[in-house]
């Protein structure tokens, strides 16, 4: 039976409009609001509360929650649900995300819309359970093999855990692509004020179903109803015959593994359907950047102490600002390039030993010094620590 999103029922389940909740729960709320009707997952700290929250809520809106045997099965179930017509999501953290890499690539290759909430911790391996880090910022981009583009969003507040989960669903439907919400343990477990948006304050993007004459249908051609590289979606059971495979396939969906041309055409489309929209997808917050000579470039939880450090710097008369990436992938190349022309120094605070700093460096112009401000061990930077980077570089 097809799931009908019922706003009144969803809002009854979510409860009060203003709440004091954890980021994990806010991500679960975002999924429900976006119309998610299927969650397949496996518990792992610091992401367990996403699954716990949505497990309680989904049955009450006539959705389905399945605790799977592991993270491989979780994402596989989500992919199956998406092909059955559902908006589907899962949540995990570093070790589980590593296990999901195979099916993450499969979702990319089969153009399956779905959302993965990754409440990051650190590694390698099981690392530091319960504590926050930003351990998977490169894994989300390069963790699966082959040529891919990624869409990854990074929330810095509990409110953004909700807002960006809705956005993740929208982008996944728009591009038929698995979209990752790259939260972290700090924001996932932080409790903060959350305001649940009303229906008229949200935009929901729905999947474009295949509607063309069935005899003319090409499952993996460009859209046949729009000027768009994203194919219309042939939901299983609607009569559009579709062969779904992780192998290189032609427009009919059939394996074409020995055809150079078919592979080039397919992979180029899978990458450029996203990278062509890089500027549209760029979503950043600029803080005190107008006259800044030094800029922090950061994302996620790291933006919180950074913002405090910027405030202290400004009180001390230092021209310092912050660029916060809400969309980390596709990487906002032009924004970084332009920033690097304006400031002398860029400092990149990250809760790892250096991941996004490499991309910042790659797209910064010569003459702008790019420095990493790393923090590992399961803690955020202290504002004073980041302020220290400024004093050291005066």
């Amino acid at each position: 039976m097809r799931y009908e999103r019922d706003p009144a029922r969803i809002r009854k389940v979510l409860g009060d409009k203003v709440q004091f909740v954890q980021g994990d729960m806010a991500a679960a709320y975002g999924g429900l609001l976006a119309g998610c009707s299927f969650f397949g997952g496996y518990p792992i700290t610091p992401a367990s509360e996403v699954a716990e929250g949505i497990a309680r809520m989904l049955p009450r809106v006539k959705g389905t929650f399945i605790q799977m045997e592991d993270e491989i099965g979780s994402l596989a179930a989500v992919i199956g649900a998406a092909w059955g017509g559902a908006k589907a999501m899962t949540s995990t953290s570093g070790p589980g995300f590593s296990l999901m890499m195979e099916n993450y690539g499969y979702a990319i290759m089969t153009e399956t819309p779905c959302v993965i909430v990754n409440v990051q911790r650190t590694g390698p391996s099981t690392g530091q359970p319960t504590l926050g880090a930003q351990g998977d910022m490169m894994q989300v981009r390069w963790g699966t093999h082959g040529d891919v583009e990624a869409i990854a969003l990074a929330p810095s507040t509990v409110q953004e855990c909700l807002d960006l989960t809705i956005e993740a669903f929208n982008l996944s439907e728009k591009y038929r692509h698995p979209v990752c919400l790259m939260a972290d343990g700090e924001i996932g477990h932080l409790r903060e004020k959350l305001v649940i948006p009303d229906e008229d304050e949200m935009t929901l993007i729905e999947r474009v179903p295949a509607t063309i004459d069935k005899d003319k249908f090409l499952p993996f051609g460009n859209s046949q109803t729009r000027d768009n590289k994203v194919p219309d979606f042939p939901t299983f059971g609607t009569g559009y015959r579709t062969y779904v495979t992780g192998l290189t396939h032609n427009k009919k969906g059939f394996p074409a593994t020995d055809k150079q041309r078919d592979h080039e055409e397919l992979i180029t489309r899978l990458v450029t359907k996203i990278s062509d929209d890089r500027e549209k997808l760029t979503n950043v917050e600029r803080v005190e950047l107008d006259d800044a000579e030094t800029a922090f470039v950061t994302y996620g939880a790291s933006a919180r102490p950074t913002e405090s450090a910027v405030a202290t710097a400004r009180k001390n008369g230092m021209k310092v600002g912050m660029l916060r990436l809400k969309t980390v992938w596709p990487f906002p190349r032009r924004t970084i390039e332009e920033l690097s022309k304006k400031v002398n120094k860029i400092i990149v605070p990250e809760m790892n030993l250096g991941q996004i700093v490499h991309s910042v460096r790659e797209y910064s112009c010569d003459g702008c010094e790019v420095t990493l401000a790393p923090k590992v061990g399961g803690e955020m930077h202290l504002p004073d620590e980041l302020f220290g980077y400024l004093e050291a570089r005066k």
Binding site: Q19, P129, R191, E192, K193, P305, M380, D384
Partner: protein, 179 residues
């Protein structure tokens, strides 16, 4: 206005819920921003546990306290562990039955939250009695807002008991003087 509160106790005592109620009172039932972070995980059970809440009328950047404005101790071990972070102007509240060794060389608030809960017949509401004490001692949140947050955060069948514990704690807090 920006105040950082740390409540220390032992795992299972409900310090997280106490912090949660203060944060909710600030965010939902008053017009403040608040954040709550916590020690989390199996290692917190039984040993010293803590909840930290920041309440502010402005946007809150760094979400953990860098200095403590109000320190509440509900267990000796928590007091011993966290007392190093007490500054000269930190307001200190202890449950004197649970923290008998509480001398820091200056007067502090000594209350009996657990006694209130015991008199009500249920030690479980010690944390809520302490929320009442905090509200009475520390002039930050209106008693009405905190009471609403208490009612909103506890199981329905224990609501009256919790409200009673809150109100008795509030009275004890209002009457308390540093000693």
């Amino acid at each position: 206005m920006k105040k950082s509160i740390r409540i220390g106790g032992f795992g299972g005592q409900g310090v997280i819920l106490a912090g949660f109620i203060l944060g909710k009172a600030a965010c939902v039932f008053s017009d403040y921003n608040a954040v709550q972070s916590q020690s989390y995980g199996p290692e917190a059970r039984g040993g010293a546990a803590r909840a930290e809440v920041i309440v502010s009328d402005e946007k809150i950047g760094y979400p953990r306290p860098t200095t403590i404005d109000l320190f509440v101790a509900m267990a000796q071990e928590a007091f011993d562990t966290y007392r190093k972070d007490i500054r000269d102007d930190t307001v200190v509240i202890v449950d004197s039955d649970l923290v008998p060794r509480n001398d820091i060389g200056r007067p502090i608030y000594k209350v009996r939250a657990q006694k209130i809960a015991q008199d009500l017949g249920n030690k479980m509401v010690t944390n809520i009695a302490m929320v009442g004490v905090i509200t009475g001692v520390y002039d930050m949140l209106s008693p009405d807002a905190v009471k609403k947050a208490v009612m909103d955060s506890v199981p329905k069948r224990f609501r009256d008991l919790n409200v009673k514990a809150f109100e008795m704690g509030l009275e004890a807090g209002k009457n308390a003087r540093p000693e």
